[in-house]
C-alpha cells in the first residue's frame, strides 16, 4: 500500500491529463469516428447585410457525394421555434427573431445560409460552391454611432431600432456632491477594440441520431454538456433524456464554447433527417469570421478628484456593440456597473449604458467578459495621476480599500471581505523597485530609449461574495458525485468541463487528500450528460472554489459513508472505525483491516447491510462557494518602445496574485501566464477588423488576426499572496480569468508612461506599432 507522505493540495502534482495529451492519444471532437459518418459544410454570406432574394441548391444537391442540402426555410420546418440559447445570456434584453440558417436576411459576413452534408468535407465544400444565393444588399451598420442613428436600417425587423437597450441612470452614493466637492474633473473617452477567443481548436460537433431509439447522441467541443443538451433538445423538440451529450478533450475555449450554436442545431437536425452521424468541424476562417467576438465597448468617463489624488466619484456612460446576433453582450453592462469601483473606496458612481446591434459577429463571452471595468478604472487612475503630476502607484494606494479601514464594501454594494489589493500593489512595487526604475528610465531617455512602467490592480469574482450572487439557478451551487468502485478506487463525477484547466488533476488532489487515498486512485469523470451531475459547466472562474469545494465536501461525505458501512460490517461503533491509507479497520485492531475494494464489494452484496446503506457506495455533495470572495492581484510591466518603428517590447512582467489556497501552483501559474499572454496580445497584436464601409471582415486568417508567439511573451515573475481565509475548509479561488483582465491596463499604462515625453495620452486599448507612431506624431493618423 502506498504511503501518503504529505498533502497533494498545494503541490505542483503532475497532470493526469498529460499522458494522453503528450502522446497524441487525446480525443478531441475532430477525432471522433462513427460508422457512416457524414461531413457538413456551410454556405455563408459574403456580405454583411442583405435580403436573400433567391436560393438555388439544385446543382449542389446533385453534386458527387452529397446526401443533403438544407436551406434555412426547410430546416426551420423541422425545428421548434424559439430563441434557444440566445435568451439564456440576454440579461433581459429583447431577443429578436431569427432562423437557425439565415432565410430572409443575412446580418453579418459568414452568416450560415445553406447546410451541405456530403461523404467528405472536401465534397461538401465542392458542393457549397454550386449553391447560388442572390442577395439584395442593404447598408451595413458597422459602428455603434451608426446603430444609434434612427435612419440606420433595422437589422432585426422585430426590434424597433438597432438600439437594443438604453438603460436608466443608476446612481450610487452622492454623485452630485462628489463632483461639487472635487478640485478637478478628469474626463476621458475610452474605447476597447474587438478581440476574439481564437482557441486553437475551433468549434465542432458530431451529431448521431438513432432512428430506432429516437435518441440523439452528440459529441461536442463545449464548456458544459448540459447547456448543449438543453439547447438541442429544445430546438429539436426532443425530451432531454433522449439527448446525450459527450465531450472529450477540448482544445481551449476561453468562453466561446458555451452551449450549442446555430450550426450545431443544423447538424443535429440533419442527422435526425438522414439517420446517419453528421460531423461539422468549424474551420479557422469560419471561426475568426463568425463564431463570435468580444470586448468592443466604449466609455465616456468623468472622475471627480481632489488635488491630493482622492477619487470622490465617477460618472460613466458605456456603449456596447453586441454584433448581429444575441450573444452575451447585453448582460455584461450590469456586471461592469457593479464591478467598476473595484477594490477602491470610490464614494459615488453614476452609470448608464446603451447596447446596440450591428452587422458584426455576435458578442460572446471571452475570458473575464466584464473586464472593461478594470481597464477603464485603471486607465482613469493613470490619467488622473498624470493630470495631478503624481506617481500612479500613489494614487492607487491612496484610494484602495484596506482591511484596516472599513467599510469594506464597493459603493455598488458588494462586500470586499478578504481583498488584498493594497498588499499586492505594495508587493509588485517592491519587486520592480519603483525608485530605481524611475532613475533608469530617466537615464535611458537621455540615450533616446523610451522605457515605461505600468501598474494596475483588479479583483475578480471567483465566484464573489455569496451575498448578491444569488442562490440558485444554473450558476448556483456546484454538485459532484463520488462513488467507491469495486476495485477500491474513487470515481468523481463533475459537470465541470475542463478545456485546459486541468480539473481532472486538481479535483483528484482535493478528493484524495480528504478521502485519504493516493491520487492515482481518484478518477475524475467529465463530459457525459448522462453521468455527470447537472450543472452549468466550466466558466465564471467557478471550478476551483465551487467544484473544488464540492469535491472536498463530497470526499468527506464518502469517507463518512465508508466508515458507517464499516461500522455495520465490523459491528463496531462508527466512532471506532477509521479509514486511512486505503483501508478501513477498527481503531487499534490492525488485523480487522478491510480494503476499500472489499468494502465496496460487500456493500453491493445482498443482505450484508441495511437497505439504507446497501448497494453502490456513492454520495452527492454540493457546494455554494461559501463566502467565496475575490481573486485578485496587481501586475507591473516594464516596456521599451522603439519610437522609430513603434514596436513595443515587454521587458519585464511582475505579478502578485491572490487566489487564496493554491491547489496546484503550477496549474495556477499556467492560468495566470496564459491570461497575461492573451492580454499582451490584445494590446499589441490582436484586433478583429472590419471595413466600416462595406462590412467586410478583414481578420479572417491567422495572418490578419495575429496571436502572440514565444517571441513576444516574456517570462512572467509570479508571487502568491494568500487571502484571509473566509471558510473553514474551502479557500480556493478561481484564477482563470484574471490575467486577461489585468494585463491590458497594465500594458497600456506602461506604454503611456514610456511615451510621456511626447505628451501621449492613451484612450484606446489596441496599440500596434502603426498606432504608436500616430500617437507620438511621427506619422499622420490613418
Amino acid at each position: 500500500m502506498q504511503h501518503i507522505a504529505e498533502r497533494y493540495t498545494g503541490a505542483s502534482v503532475r497532470r493526469s491529463e498529460d499522458p494522453r495529451i503528450l502522446t497524441g492519444s487525446g480525443r478531441y471532437v475532430d477525432d471522433v469516428r462513427l460508422p457512416g459518418m457524414l461531413h457538413a459544410a456551410f454556405v455563408r454570406s459574403p456580405v454583411a447585410h442583405a435580403r436573400i432574394t433567391r436560393i438555388d441548391v439544385r446543382a449542389a444537391a446533385e453534386a458527387p457525394g452529397v446526401t443533403l442540402v438544407l436551406t434555412g426555410e426547410e430546416l426551420e420546418r423541422s425545428l421548434v421555434p424559439g430563441p434557444g440559447i440566445a435568451a439564456m445570456f440576454s440579461g433581459g434584453a429583447p431577443v429578436p427573431a431569427f432562423t437557425t440558417l439565415a432565410s430572409d436576411k443575412v446580418r453579418v459576413v459568414g452568416d450560415p445560409v445553406v447546410l451541405v452534408v456530403a461523404e467528405s468535407r472536401y465534397l461538401a465544400e465542392d458542393a457549397c460552391e454550386l449553391v447560388e444565393v442572390d442577395y439584395e444588399e442593404l447598408p451595413a451598420v458597422m459602428t455603434s454611432q451608426a446603430a444609434q442613428d434612427p435612419a440606420s436600417p433595422a437589422i432585426f425587423e422585430d426590434l424597433a431600432s438597432n438600439v437594443l437597450v438604453r438603460s436608466p441612470v443608476a446612481v450610487f452614493g452622492d454623485v452630485d456632491g462628489a463632483f461639487a466637492r472635487a478640485d478637478r474633473i478628469v474626463r476621458a473617452d475610452l474605447r476597447q477594440h474587438r478581440h476574439q477567443n481564437a482557441p486553437m481548436e475551433c468549434r465542432g460537433v458530431v451529431c448521431s441520431f438513432d432512428p430506432e431509439s429516437g435518441e440523439l447522441t452528440v459529441h461536442s467541443a463545449t464548456q458544459g454538456v448540459h447547456i448543449v443538451r438543453t439547447t438541442l433538445s429544445t430546438a429539436l423538440g426532443l425530451p432531454p433524456e433522449k439527448v446525450r451529450v459527450l465531450a472529450g478533450d477540448i482544445g481551449g475555449s476561453f468562453g466561446l464554447k458555451l452551449g450549442a450554436y446555430r450550426e450545431d442545431v443544423a447538424c443535429a437536425a440533419a442527422s435526425r433527417r438522414l439517420g446517419r452521424p453528421v460531423r461539422w468541424m468549424e474551420d479557422r476562417l469560419e471561426n475568426l469570421t463568425f463564431s463570435g467576438q468580444a470586448r468592443e465597448e466604449s466609455f465616456e468617463v468623468e472622475a471627480a478628484v481632489t488635488n491630493e489624488g482622492e477619487i470622490l466619484g465617477l460618472r460613466v456612460k458605456m456603449t456596447i456593440d453586441t454584433g448581429a446576433y444575441p450573444g452575451m453582450g447585453a448582460m455584461l453592462p450590469e456586471l461592469v456597473k457593479t464591478m467598476i469601483p473595484g477594490p477602491y473606496k470610490i464614494g459615488a458612481l453614476s452609470f448608464e449604458w446603451t447596447a446596440v446591434v450591428t452587422n458584426k459577429a455576435a458578442y460572446v463571452a471571452y475570458r473575464g467578459p466584464w473586464a472593461s471595468e478594470t481597464w477603464v478604472r485603471e486607465r482613469m487612475i493613470d490619467l488622473i495621476a498624470m493630470e495631478l503630476g503624481m506617481e500612479p502607484l500613489e494614487v492607487r494606494l491612496r484610494n484602495v480599500a484596506t482591511r484596516e479601514t472599513p467599510p469594506l464594501r464597493m459603493v455598488t454594494g458588494r462586500s470586499l471581505a478578504g481583498v488584498t489589493a493594497r498588499e499586492s500593489l505594495e508587493a509588485v512595487a517592491a519587486k520592480v523597485d519603483l525608485p530605481a526604475f524611475r532613475r533608469l528610465q530617466a537615464g535611458a531617455r537621455g540615450h533616446g530609449r523610451y522605457l515605461g512602467l505600468g501598474v494596475a490592480t483588479y479583483i475578480e469574482p471567483a465566484p464573489g461574495p455569496l451575498e448578491g450572487r444569488g442562490g440558485g439557478g444554473i450558476m448556483g451551487p456546484e454538485q459532484v458525485r463520488l462513488r467507491l468502485e469495486e476495485d477500491g478506487t474513487v470515481t468523481l463525477f463533475t459537470s465541470q468541463m475542463p478545456h485546459g484547466q486541468s480539473h481532472q488533476t486538481t479535483f483528484a488532489q482535493v478528493a484524495a487528500d480528504e478521502f485519504g487515498v493516493p491520487i492515482e486512485q481518484v478518477r475524475v469523470v467529465v463530459g457525459d450528460s448522462d453521468l455527470v451531475p447537472m450543472g452549468f459547466g466550466t466558466g465564471g472562474s467557478r471550478a476551483a472554489i465551487m467544484a473544488g469545494g464540492a469535491s472536498l465536501h463530497g470526499a468527506r461525505a464518502l469517507k463518512a459513508r465508508v466508515e458507517e458501512i464499516a461500522s455495520h460490517l465490523f459491528e463496531a461503533g462508527a466512532e471506532d472505525v477509521e479509514l486511512s491509507g486505503g483501508s478501513v479497520a477498527v481503531r487499534g485492531v490492525p488485523a480487522s483491516a478491510m480494503s476499500l475494494a472489499e468494502l465496496a464489494r460487500a456493500a453491493r452484496s445482498p443482505g450484508r447491510l441495511p437497505p439504507s446503506l446497501a448497494g453502490d457506495v456513492e454520495v452527492t455533495a454540493a457546494f455554494d462557494g461559501g463566502e467565496g470572495g475575490w481573486s485578485g492581484g496587481s501586475h507591473a510591466a516594464v516596456v521599451e518602445v522603439d519610437v522609430e518603428t513603434g514596436q513595443v517590447r515587454v521587458e519585464r512582467y511582475v505579478v502578485a496574485e491572490d487566489c487564496g489556497t493554491l491547489i496546484n501552483p503550477a496549474i495556477v501559474e499556467g492560468q495566470v501566464r496564459g491570461g497575461i499572454a492573451q492580454g499582451i496580445g490584445a494590446v499589441l497584436l490582436e484586433r478583429s477588423a472590419y471595413d466600416e464601409e462595406t462590412g467586410q471582415y478583414l481578420s479572417s486568417t491567422f495572418m490578419d488576426y495575429v496571436l502572440a508567439t514565444a517571441c513576444e511573451i516574456p517570462r512572467i515573475e509570479i508571487e502568491h499572496l494568500e487571502t484571509v481565509p473566509l471558510d473553514a475548509d474551502v479557500n480556493f479561488r478561481g484564477v482563470g480569468e484574471g490575467g486577461m483582465i489585468i494585463a491590458p491596463p497594465t500594458l497600456c499604462n506602461a506604454i503611456e508612461d514610456a511615451l510621456s515625453p511626447f505628451g501621449v495620452r492613451v484612450f484606446e486599448q489596441h496599440l500596434p506599432p502603426a498606432r504608436i507612431l500616430e500617437l507620438i506624431g511621427a506619422i499622420p493618423a490613418g
Binding site: 465544400e125 469570421t289 518603428t645 497584436l685 467586410q696 478583414l698 502572440a708 508567439t709 502603426a770 507612431l773
Partner: protein
Amino acid sequence: MRVGSLTVKPPPFDYSAPDTLEEALFLLGEAGDEARPLAGGQSLVPLLSLRLARPSLLVDLAGITTLRTLGAADGHLALGAMVRERQAERDVRVRRLAPVLADALPLIGHPAIRSRGTIGGSLSHADPAAELPAVALVLEAELVAESRARGRRSIAAANFFTGFFTTELAPDELLTSLRVPSPAPGTGWAVDEVARRHGDFAIVGAAAMVRLDTSTGRIGEARVALAGVGDTPVRLRETERMLDGAEPADGAFADAAEDAAARLSPPADVHGSAAYRRHIAGVLVRRTLKLAAQRAREAA
C-alpha cells in the same frame, strides 16, 4: 484578407511528378496556364486550400534532381530553383559568397516553412512583401528560366518582378536557378525588417549593400531594395545615386532615407497605413545602409 468561401479544403486538380526538367516543361507546355508548377508549396498550398488558386494540374518539381544543386563557380553562387530555404540557410558557401542572402533566409517564415519552401518557389511567387525578391534585386542576381517554346534564358532580377504576384515568366516557363554574382571586395551588407511578429511577412523589409572606395573611404556603390512597399519589390536607384561618392555618415543615410520614403506609395492593410509603411521604409533604409557601410569599413 477577404476570403469569400471560408473553406479550407483544396478544390480538385490533377497531379504529376516528373523526374526530369524536360518532362516538366513538356507538361507545362501542354497544359498552358491551367497548370501550376509546385515547388515547396508553402505559398501555393494555402492558396489552394482557400480556393484562391484553381489549377487543373500541379506539376511537382521535387523529383527533378537537377533543380536541387547548390554550387559556386566563376564568381557566382548558383542555387537550383528547388533548393530548400533551410538547406541554403545552412550552407557555408551562401554565407561566404552572398551574406545578404544568408541573413535574409532566417527571416522567411519559420523553420517548418523553410524546410519545405524553396528559393525558386519564393522568387516565382513574387510576393511583394517577401524577403527573397528584394534580396535578388539588391544582389543584381540573374534568374535562369527555361521553357519548351523559348528554351533557356537569363532574366535580370530588375526585369523579373513585373507586377503584383506576377513575373516575367510565361505560364509554360520554369525558373530553374538563381545566379548570384559575388560582391566586390570591401562590400558590406545588411538586411532588416519590421514585422508584426518574428517570422511574419514583413510590413516593410530592406536589404542594402555598400562598397566603400578603398582610397577615399567614400561610398563607391550603394544599393538598397525594399519589400512590402508596392506591387513589386522596389530597388531605390535614385536614392542610391544620391550616395555615390558621399561620406558614409549618418547625415547622408538620413537624407537617403528621407528621399526613399518620399518616393514610395506603399499599400495599406490591417497592419498599417501607407504613411506607416513609408515611415518604416525610411527607418529601414537608414538602418540598413548604416550597418552595411559599417560592415564595409570592417571588411576593408
